[in-house]
Symmetry: D3
Subunit: 223 residues, 6 copies
């Protein structure tokens, strides 16, 4: 299978620790023995720290995005470092570069691409660009819930959704809260328009990724 994995910054870089990068590297390398793997890494805590400074400096949102992209690319370099020779040595700057880098036979690891696009959206467009069979998105909860499980005791995990249902859910959340921590709305539009199967799983334990690929019923499947 051709698999795109969006590794949430909060999962791999809650703080900057070699251990998390090593663990993810090990899982992804083992996956790459049987599959073609492309990884998009988010910004995590270091991005938040940099972006906080830009807010105090009253920088434009576009500049903030650029700094977030910069941090996500640094995180991508760390994950490359943890991969030894298994990864393509440079994080591609865009989808075309990523697509061409695949001819190396290596694991491709990249960060953000352009202002106005979250790394969720990047992962979805990349999946579309390379005709991925599966998009996996690791996050801080173990799937999509009917409500925020941290506030609503009756919230239930959803095992399966259609892309349209996902799109409506995230649209509603962004309309009210200004953001959502499930999946970017543009990304949701992309997976809908190109019928890309996606699994949203917890990134706490990187081995969940392998379970997801092997068809175990974890997280939420959007299809």
């Amino acid at each position: 299978m051709r698999i795109v994995i969006k590794v949430g910054g909060s999962a791999i870089a809650p703080s900057l620790e070699a251990k998390r990068f090593s663990e993810y590297a090990q899982v992804i390398r083992s996956l790459a023995k049987d599959h073609t793997v492309l990884v998009v890494v988010g910004g995590g805590t270091p991005a938040r720290e940099y972006i906080n400074v830009t807010k105090e400096l009253k920088a434009s949102n576009a500049l903030r995005d650029l700094i977030g992209i910069g941090v996500s690319r640094l995180n991508a370099r760390l994950l490359i470092s943890a991969m030894n020779d298994a990864a393509y040595p440079e994080p591609p700057h865009d989808y075309q570069e990523a697509s061409l880098a695949m001819y190396s036979g290596k694991i491709i690891i990249m960060g953000g691409v352009q202002p106005g696009q979250t790394t969720d959206a990047v992962a979805a467009i990349l999946a579309e660009y390379v005709h991925a069979d599966l998009l996996i998105r690791t996050t801080s909860v173990d799937g999509v819930y009917t409500a925020d499980p941290r506030v609503d005791k009756n919230a239930k995990k959803i095992d399966h959704m259609t892309p349209q249902e996902l799109l409506e859910l995230v649209a509603k959340m962004e309309m009210t809260a200004g953001a959502n921590n499930i999946f970017d709305m543009l990304g949701a539009q992309i997976i809908k328009r190109s019928h890309i199967p996606m699994m949203i799983i917890s990134g706490q334990d990187p081995h969940n990724i392998i379970d997801a690929v092997n068809g175990k019923k974890i997280g939420t499947l959007i299809k």
Copy 2:
């Protein structure tokens, strides 16, 4: 003022005619005497023709986007040709290039940037990137309506909306119809997050752009 204008492909290239490009060029040049102007051009009919072929060829959506970007850049070159020396001679490939090209003192004209982003979204991100005071979007109707004026006789033009209202309207339309012909949802999110005033006006008569800049009450103001 610093103004970004999104010229709809259907407005400037309903078919490929020099006359439309000349008319738009004349209006934009006269505007540029008093303002800094950046223009994003859409793909119009030629893009639709190319994209129809990709659909028959069952190309991926990402490839379709790339071809749409290619056509929008050709349209940008045509508009540059119609500007004589008033325009920057090359359509920038992204926001950074556009921003740097402004040091030339010329009118900047560009097309699409990356797969997954419509030229609406490009115009909104560009406006954010260069701290534009106003974003103008020309379209085939004369503003935003409460319903589709072509089917609903009671549809009324909305003179003024908030960015949040626009976002909710386009989200609802995309959820049901899969697309909307008012403004791209990602673009709406951008103008909301960065408080960019936008006017949606008819592109039938390019002089509407000058009226909009001069504060005439035409089209719909989103602010």
Copy 3:
């Protein structure tokens, strides 16, 4: 063999139809099973339509060339779309990129390169750059004639010419008519200086390309 094919725009895009692109794609893919294939695509009718607008806009010839290059690259993208995974996914911008892209093992498809060079010349220089064993040029007639077969009933197809004879013929035509529809003069100089065998054949039926490669006596051989 290493083969460069110049697919005339008039052959593959007399109008924009998926069928022509599919037919060419099928032939080229079957050829690529036994040979290394690089393709240069011309602009065809869509280029002519765009260029007509630039003429009305009185754009410089260099700008016209750039727009022609843009359209030929779009046509290259369409042909790539018709190839599924058999083609390198991006049309190279110049000879170096094309040469490096060959390491992918894929079919390389490109359009024009720089103002002042026709796609005929691009094909000849590419053939020189990659040490091609054969250059095939598809055109609207079935070879080179002693005179224009559409006006002179006694015109006879020439089965074999030397590069010097071709050069003299096209030079004479360009001196009198300002253009020729056989092969670009710069291209003719290139194949002469580097002794590149070339076949000029009809592009009406793409299978002629296979016949040409297999040594069938069709079209005109320049050697």
Copy 4:
């Protein structure tokens, strides 16, 4: 005067705080009213944190350098953010880009360039490249001392040195300690070969930079 300022990462980013960036921005903007100013920013504490992870991951020194360059470029972006419109909006990637960016009339702010070159060396080569009249290097002490002032009470600040004396001093320190915190050895070779006057001053108070430019006797002058 044309002035290159190397702002030490430890001076501007001992931790990530908007305040330090604002203070430096204010000083540099006031300087830029009378002078042409180019700034090279170091990596500071955030670079050290990233590099520590690479060490645990046993990444090569070249990869570590690349990550250090990445962080220094983020710091450059933060300083650009603090400058509003006074700075060139993108940190140049190398000396040629920096040199061309000067035509904008804006303050140029950049980070590292290539593995194997510290930002000290980058500042010296940039000064050479743009024919700077003065190179200022802010550091954590108030000049060059005869010995390490933190350990040797008799250490005395040197008011004036020749480039050759500086080179010998830093060479001796690097031979014994493997590093020095005065100035990079390659950088010292550059200012010697091109006779670039340099001042090494404390970066605690950014206003020292203005004093240095105005000829006040602070820090150590190398000439």
Copy 5:
């Protein structure tokens, strides 16, 4: 006036001497006080030496062209060095870069662009691209002759030719001798299609360039 000057390699680099570069630099700088000047430099003797080695190594003509381009760019850098700050510091790689570099207000100096194009052709296309009012080509003789003046005593200098006459002359020479030392055939086609006035003058004394611009009757005028 906007003037493109093709400085023949044999004129500026018969051997590598600073004096020739200084003389040309002085003339071009004085010209640039009243005119916009762009210069294309040829390869001269150093190019010939490098190309001789490629011939012995049996390198392809395309590789030879690339090496010739490399040497012409080095010569361009030398001329830039001789210009102090009057010239744009980098030789542009193509016409777009050259055109954008003009916003610096500096003299643009470049070498070759792509295999298959002589620096004569580059100068003609550049002149077309920037809408030059005049193209000057310095060569080793003082104009175009009716026959080779070195062998035919009755050869007469031609004071004025049409572009069509030039094209026919160089075509005839290239057909018989394989090359001509008047002007490249592709270049001649370009000046014909875009009606660019050209003067062919002796480059022995660089001041001829000023005479040519001032309308003195020297060399051969093609118009």
Copy 6:
């Protein structure tokens, strides 16, 4: 083994002769049958001739470096020409490009990278970047001596040194003479920090390179 070879310009281009390039090409190709080989070529006599002109023109050291880089890249192209299809066809511009080019399976040949870095330093950083097992540096003498063998009869060749000893030796020589012809000081720092084994051997006979790889005791081993 992965081997980086620095071929001194004085060894391969004492004057421009095809024979030297052919000899080196033959040796390197035979080596590449069993090893991954990357080559960095210096500037040699042609570089010196160009640089002499820049000195007379009083160009900055940075411009001189750029011209030296230009010549070293031309020499790299000549060596590529001598390799037929065994070499990657383009000299990479930096370490990242070189590293990516290795996926072609071809021999990589490059010249200089940035002002302020000698090709010695480039070879050392490249060796670090690609995790080379061995760095070979060909020079005009047959190893490192205790003193200059051309002036001191008692000078003895050193068979083995530590990186630290090499660093101290070249530092001492650069402090007194302003340059050394053993190995660049920055390069020495790099091989020390990354523990890269290096052999310094005579480049008179290219076969010494094979002897060095095969473990023969020639030249000086730094380890």
